[in-house]
């Protein structure tokens, strides 16, 4: 018998990185299902195609770096990155757009910094912003919702992936686009002016946001992250929208409900800003981090040049995270005055 020298603690819990990542992937399911139901199989194809590219890219680059590529791929983090990016991309995006986005996310967003755990920015948002700035036309071509146009079948979608001229008719402006382009209509009139805007956040958008909220709630229940950042972001966005609503004039920024349930709001709140690597670390810090993202999303949506603002807001706050951390260290046991 030989004695094993291992340091304490000798017991360990059940939590594993791969399980956390798997939970995040599972939690995107409701949102992906609703997106597919309203906008067709475009997002699903994005995710699968992007996932294949991402895994291949991660495997190759980690092998190139002289690390164990199977270990890196098996933690599923690269699939989370590619899935989140592909959900954010317009359905029926051409193959090269997806490929460039995924490669940018994995290489520039993650691996150049040293891989999982070392990225200062949210990798999916790095990829998204590079695409948004480089290919604004393709990036603003969102699909028409079911009911306003015919939803392409899976064969058409696959064809479209590699020869992107086959289904041009599907593209339409998103509700946030319409709001930004609105110059003369009262907000209430705007909502009835355009068929895309039916419902609280536009056809399909309210349901999509609700589905991501559901997935996010499940992750909260699974304790994958804490409530602080999402709740702070949603609250800040709602407060800003309330302050900017002015009863719904043509200059108004849209109602709070509209902002909460349109665009990428819920997706951002529960899947993007909760990325632990690039966010603030303490609970107090996450409150500030989330709230500032909420404010920035509103400001960029209403005053900026881009219809949705999540990616920019998140990247800007990623810059600020270490600064926030510095000023939000929790009070350690036995130090300072007690706040409770």
């Amino acid at each position: 018998m030989s004695l094993l020298k291992v340091t304490s603690p000798h017991a360990s819990g059940q939590s594993r990185v791969s399980a956390v990542m798997r939970d995040v992937l599972l939690a995107t399911l409701p949102g992906v299902v609703v997106l597919t139901a309203y906008f067709g199989p475009g997002t699903l194809v994005n995710i699968i195609f992007g996932g294949l590219i991402a895994v291949a890219c991660e495997y190759a680059i980690v092998a190139l770096r002289g690390r164990d590529p199977r270990l890196a791929v098996s933690d599923l983090s690269v699939l989370v990155t590619s899935t989140l990016l592909c959900i954010a991309l317009p359905p029926y995006a051409p193959w090269w757009l997806i490929t460039i986005g995924v490669l940018t996310s994995v290489l520039l967003g993650k691996q150049v910094f040293g891989g999982l755990g070392y990225n200062p920015f949210n990798p999916a948002m790095v990829g998204y912003v590079v695409l948004l700035i480089s290919f604004p036309v393709q990036m603003s071509a969102w699909a028409s919702p079911r009911g306003l146009a015919e939803i392409p079948g899976i064969t058409d979608t696959l064809q479209h992936l590699f020869s992107p001229s086959t289904i041009d008719a599907v593209t339409a402006a998103t509700p946030l686009d319409l709001l930004r382009q609105n110059t003369g209509l009262l907000f209430e009139d705007l909502l009835t002016s355009s068929p895309e805007l039916t419902g609280w956040g536009g056809i399909g958008w309210f349901e999509t946001n609700l589905a991501f909220l559901l997935g996010g709630a499940w992750l909260l229940y699974r304790r994958v992250f804490t409530w602080h950042a999402p709740v702070a972001m949603l609250a800040a966005l709602a407060v800003c929208a309330l302050m900017g609503y002015d009863g719904g004039s043509s200059q108004s920024g849209g109602s709070a409900l509209f902002h909460l349930f349109s665009g990428a709001t819920m997706f951002a709140a529960f899947f993007i800003i909760t990325d632990p690597v690039s966010s603030a670390v303490s609970n107090k810090g996450r409150l500030i981090f989330g709230a500032l993202i909420g404010v920035l999303i509103y400001l960029i949506r209403t005053l900026g040049n881009y219809p949705d603002a999540v990616a920019f807001a998140v990247l800007i706050l990623n810059f600020c995270a270490p600064f926030i951390d510095h000023y939000t260290q929790p009070r350690v046991y036995g130090t300072g005055s007690r706040d409770s």
């Binding site: 603690p9 000798h10 999982l116 951390d325 350690v332 130090t335």
Partner: protein, 513 residues
């Protein structure tokens, strides 16, 4: 009813306490050879007062305390001292330490002890002296000399004696068993300790996963008629940490870098209380303790009263160890215990548990993955630290930030590493970082000292030179003034004198052939 406060963080690992059948206590056989380390406590090792070949009786002092931070060692049975030398001891470092080795003669003859039943008539100094002479050191794990703890100094007054019956580590049931089997002694010991420090109240805290111990202590309190408060609180690791139980029961926090006495508390383990009772009332020194032998690699996990100095291997054999080819033996519990590196090492005053797990029971850690900063560690940390940041800075060896993030408030409970999804051995990083910071502080102290010495020497040399200069100037001035008075040039006079001497010497050889 006392308000129970919650502590930040904490975890709920599987308790596995039923495995060792708490409440059943047997006596382990006296081993053929006992190995008694001179240091079983925190502080200065004891000084042997027996020689090789001496026959000793049970209870006889075989090593005396050296100074205040030290406690004596007693023979746990009768026998012959065969050797005093460095032997493997149960310590995380795996180092050897000086031990007195006794070959038991099988007679188990003892000195006769005289105790004092009426301890209330004795003053605190006498009682503290007896506690020290009995060799008592904190039996909860740290081994801090109890006599030192009982003398907090005139600046601090103890309001409450807190008896920590939490035993929050999984698997361990030694205190649970002690509270069930020796409750009356426990209550008496607590009263003696409270008397020594003039504490106004006695408070016993037990986690609610030990209903039998709670009932037994409750009954003992009733029998004693003393005014002792028993508080129970929800089970959570690490509620048994001294700082943690204090916050749970009083809502107060021990100041960082301070001790419980700073807020009027004295915190002792049940084993220490029982040992104190035996030292004072029975006059008996600390020679035995209760050890939990547990883990699925043992055929019969159990609690035993064992002689201090019993080799670990003897106890494991007693409990029927079915060792794997690669076996982990843990001294202490699964959260804070350390892996034993030599089974010949003996149990000491701080050994509360020997854990022999199967690989399935406590699997070896998987290779660590990168930290994803999920923050589960920060949620689990009972000290409200940010373990993920400490890990980052420990890897970067950034001592300034480590201190800034209060590394030294880490109690090394292991809750962070337990919940870590990346399986990073966080506590190991913190221990190493603490060691490095202590080293560099010592290094800095040394260089500060030599700089101060150098500067002092420079000052001294300069002062001496200045003094010499001043003296010379004074002499010169005096000579000049003399010359002025006598009208004779002193230099010219000296030359004249020397010439005269030379002339004298020139005539001398003729006188002495």
């Amino acid at each position: 009813m006392r308000t129970i406060h919650d502590i930040h963080g904490g975890i709920h690992p599987p308790e596995r306490k039923a495995l060792s059948r708490p409440g059943e206590l047997s006596t382990a056989p006296i081993p053929a050879v006992l190995v008694l380390p001179l240091r079983q406590h925190l502080g200065v090792p004891a000084l042997p007062v027996v020689n090789v070949g001496d026959h000793v009786l049970g209870g006889q002092t075989i090593a005396e305390a050296q100074g205040v931070m030290s406690v004596p060692v007693h023979a746990p049975t009768s026998g012959v001292v065969t050797v005093i030398e460095a032997r493997p001891i149960a310590h995380a470092s795996g180092f050897e330490d000086q031990c007195i080795v006794i070959e038991a003669d099988g007679q188990d003859e003892w000195l006769s002890f005289t105790g004092t039943a009426d301890w209330r008539g004795l003053d605190a100094a006498t009682l503290v002296g007896r506690v020290r002479a009995a060799g008592i050191a904190g039996m909860g794990g740290a081994g801090f000399p109890t006599a030192v703890k009982l003398s907090p100094g005139p600046a601090r007054s103890i309001e409450t004696l807190l008896l920590n019956g939490t035993e929050c580590e999984p698997y361990i049931t030694a205190d649970d068993t002690l509270m069930q089997c020796q409750a009356d002694e426990l209550i008496e010991g607590a009263q003696i300790l409270a008397h020594i420090v003039s504490a106004k109240a006695i408070l016993i805290g037990i986690e609610d996963n030990k209903p039998d111990a709670i009932a037994s202590v409750e009954a003992a309190i009733a029998r004693s008629g003393a005014e002792i408060e028993l508080a129970t609180f929800p089970t959570k690791y690490p509620s048994g940490g001294e700082k943690q139980i204090i916050e749970i029961l009083t809502g107060q926090q021990v100041p960082s870098g301070g001790i419980p006495a700073d807020i009027g508390l004295l915190c002792v383990s049940p084993g220490t209380a029982v040992a104190t009772k035996r030292a004072i009332i029975d006059g008996a020194p600390l020679t035995h303790r209760i050890v939990t032998l547990t883990g699925e690699a043992l055929a019969s996990p159990q609690n035993v009263t064992a002689c201090l100095g019993t080799p670990i291997t003897a106890l494991l054999t007693h409990a029927g160890l079915n060792a794997e080819s690669q076996q982990r033996i843990i001294h202490g519990g699964p959260m804070m215990g350390f892996a034993v590196s030599d089974l010949r090492a003996p149990i000491t005053k701080i050994t509360n548990c020997l854990l022999a797990p199967t690989p399935a029971e406590l699997p070896l850690p998987e290779p660590a993955k990168p930290c994803i900063r999920c923050g589960h560690c920060a949620e689990a940390c009972p000290a409200s630290l940010l373990p993920q940041q400490l890990y980052w800075y420990a890897r970067a060896k950034d001592q300034e930030q480590l201190t800034e993030h209060r590394l030294f408030d880490c109690i090394e409970c292991g809750a962070c590493a337990y919940v870590c999804p990346s399986q990073i051995p966080l506590v190991q990083y913190y221990r190493a970082a603490k060691g490095q910071i202590r080293d560099s502080e010592q290094e800095k102290q040394r260089s500060d000292n030599s700089r101060e010495r150098f500067e002092a020497r420079q000052v001294r040399l300069e002062t001496e030179a200045a003094e010499r200069e001043a003296k010379r100037a004074a002499r010169k001035a005096a000579a000049q003034s003399r010359a002025a008075e006598d009208g004779v040039d002193p230099i010219q006079a000296a030359i004249e004198r020397a010439k005269a001497r030379k002339a004298d010497q020139g005539s001398e050889p003729e006188q002495t052939p």
